[in-house]
């Protein structure tokens, strides 16, 4: 074989080798890009999931400061809801049926709360802790909280019709509302953190909710909240009642309805 033929063959082999290397490189790059996009997509999902638990501003402050201890004092309206007689229900029903009823209830309550700009902070067993004004400034948080409670009353009533038709036991809900200051922020352990509102306001809302059984009514709110409410929200005073953690007996009210024309709101 002549020298030029050797050179041509060598060049051919080199080009072929180069083409194979290039092809492999491209394939590797595509594979890495695919992995990167998949990782990015996972990250997106995590971000979306995280944003359901903490407001964007909190997430950004954590990222910017590198610290997890982010919290601020806020005035918030707290709604605490609990199912009446749920323990007895637990003993009567098969677990899958019970879970189905409970999920249907939570779904309807979540809708009623979010439709009025509330955010569910946590589910505690069959209880719901919802906040109004914790994430963004909300000058109408008191009205929103009470309207959410009334929407929950309606939703439970509609759900009960459905349960009755299916031959299942009906639900009764007790709701307590209070307005006050507390600390909103990320709390928990390194393994489990959540965006929460902590302070006496939450305890008072929970205690007021307990009083719904005592007064045989479904929605009770405190005087502090009532003072901020739209006068069209009709409430009935209940006897001042001592509650744990509060020095003086608490002035409380049962919520009746909102008096408004069809075109007004909702």
């Amino acid at each position: 074989m002549s020298g030029s033929a050797w050179a041509l063959s060598l060049a051919g082999v080199l080009i072929a080798g180069l083409a194979v290397a290039l092809h492999r490189h491209r394939r590797e790059r595509a594979r890495l890009r695919g992995r990167l996009e998949s990782a990015a997509s996972e990250l997106q999902k995590l971000q979306i999931a995280f944003s359901r638990f903490a407001p964007d501003a909190v997430i950004e402050r954590i990222i910017a400061s590198g610290q997890e201890q982010v919290g601020e004092k806020k005035e918030v309206t707290v709604l605490f809801a609990d199912l009446v007689g749920f323990t007895a229900l637990c003993e009567k029903l098969e677990p899958p049926v019970l879970v189905g009823i409970l999920n249907g209830y939570f779904e309807r309550m979540s809708q009623a709360i979010s439709a009025h700009r509330g955010r569910i902070s946590t589910f505690i067993g069959d209880g719901i802790l919802a906040l109004f004004g914790a994430l963004e400034p909300n000058p109408w948080q008191g009205d929103d909280g009470v309207r959410a409670a009334l929407a929950m009353r309606r939703a439970v009533s509609e759900y009960n019709e459905e349960l009755r038709a299916r031959g299942l036991p009906e639900l009764a809900v007790g709701i307590g509302l209070h307005r006050g200051t507390g600390i909103a922020g990320l709390v928990g352990s390194r393994d489990l953190m959540e965006f929460a509102f902590v302070g006496r306001t939450v305890n008072v809302a929970a205690r007021v909710q307990d009083l719904t059984r005592h007064f045989d009514t479904d929605i009770i709110l405190t005087e502090t909240l009532r003072k901020t409410l739209d006068p069209r929200i009709r409430v009935v005073p209940l006897p001042a009642t001592p509650v744990k953690g509060v020095a003086e007996p608490l002035s409380i009210y049962a919520v009746e309805r909102v008096e408004e024309a069809e075109c007004d709101r909702e």
Partner: protein
Amino acid sequence: MALMREIEWESCLLPPVPAPELQRRFQREVGRPGTAIRYFADNPWAAEVLIRLSVEMENRVELDAELADLVTLVVSQEASCRYCFAAMRTLLRVLGMPEARIARLEQDLMTADLNERERGALEFARRLARSNPLIRASDLEALRRLGYSELEIDELVAATALNVFFNRLSTLCALPPFRMEELPDRWYMRMFRPLVAMKLRKLRRHTELEPLRPEEREGPFSPVVVALDGLPAARALHSVLEGMWASPTLPRRVKALVFAVVARALGCDRSEAEATRLLLEDGLAREEIDQALAHLASPALDPVERIAVPFARETVWYQPAQIQRHGRQVLETLSREQFIELVTVAALANVVCRLGFTWGARG
């Protein structure tokens, strides 16, 4: 674009109406097809605003054009505006930005390949668009430290404000983003991309400073306009605000109420005080204003105001589908012309009240 495409979005509230004359005017003045104007053609003032502010979206004095585009992308994402995001994504793809870079920007501003200066500007734009809490004059210091001139900062503020406006206008009417979201991946877009890019680059206008005339420094909310003095956007903002108060479709009192409610929601005291001043001039008593703002209702409000006031509150922070459904209910009660005016006023109120930090920035 998984994130934006996952946002729930209602069908369009306003079927487009034929408006060939307006479309031609839009094409002539803005330089690109004005298909969106067909949705607003029933309200002459709103159509005028759309043209006027679309022109300003293309004007730059000193701010880098690519940065301004990124502001649009980031602010549209912040506002969950699928329509504006899709439009800007298409534009950036046509101008040659790789999809991967757009995706990284969409996924996370913090890890996207931006330099510190760009990231600082985009973070500022996003915070201004969100306004929770409101921007303060001191927040501009960070931009100065990054080397932005006062003029560039003003332009950044104006560019963000324009996007706040267009995001709301598009979202409140649920303008359809679906075709636009597919557009960059169409074969014909890929084939003709260089030609389209050339055409689009020509639209970018470098403009000179244009100080406001004395009469443009007067009128309701003029301190916000004056704060942007020199930018063509200031003149445009003055003009659309004047047109808004003068437009006969909705009374001035309804518009002032919308401004007052948006100001209350955002916590912008100066904007609320200005809107209250207008409401007092228009015959509402102080107690009636207080009640309307405290509870978004008052016996003193007329039927249109009773609809406009709670709706205005929803336009500050929202989930698109939720406010679009509310908008559909509003549209059942108002005429189409009134509805277009209401959403345009609400969008402007969100701009002006978010710029509350600029009050008194310039004499």
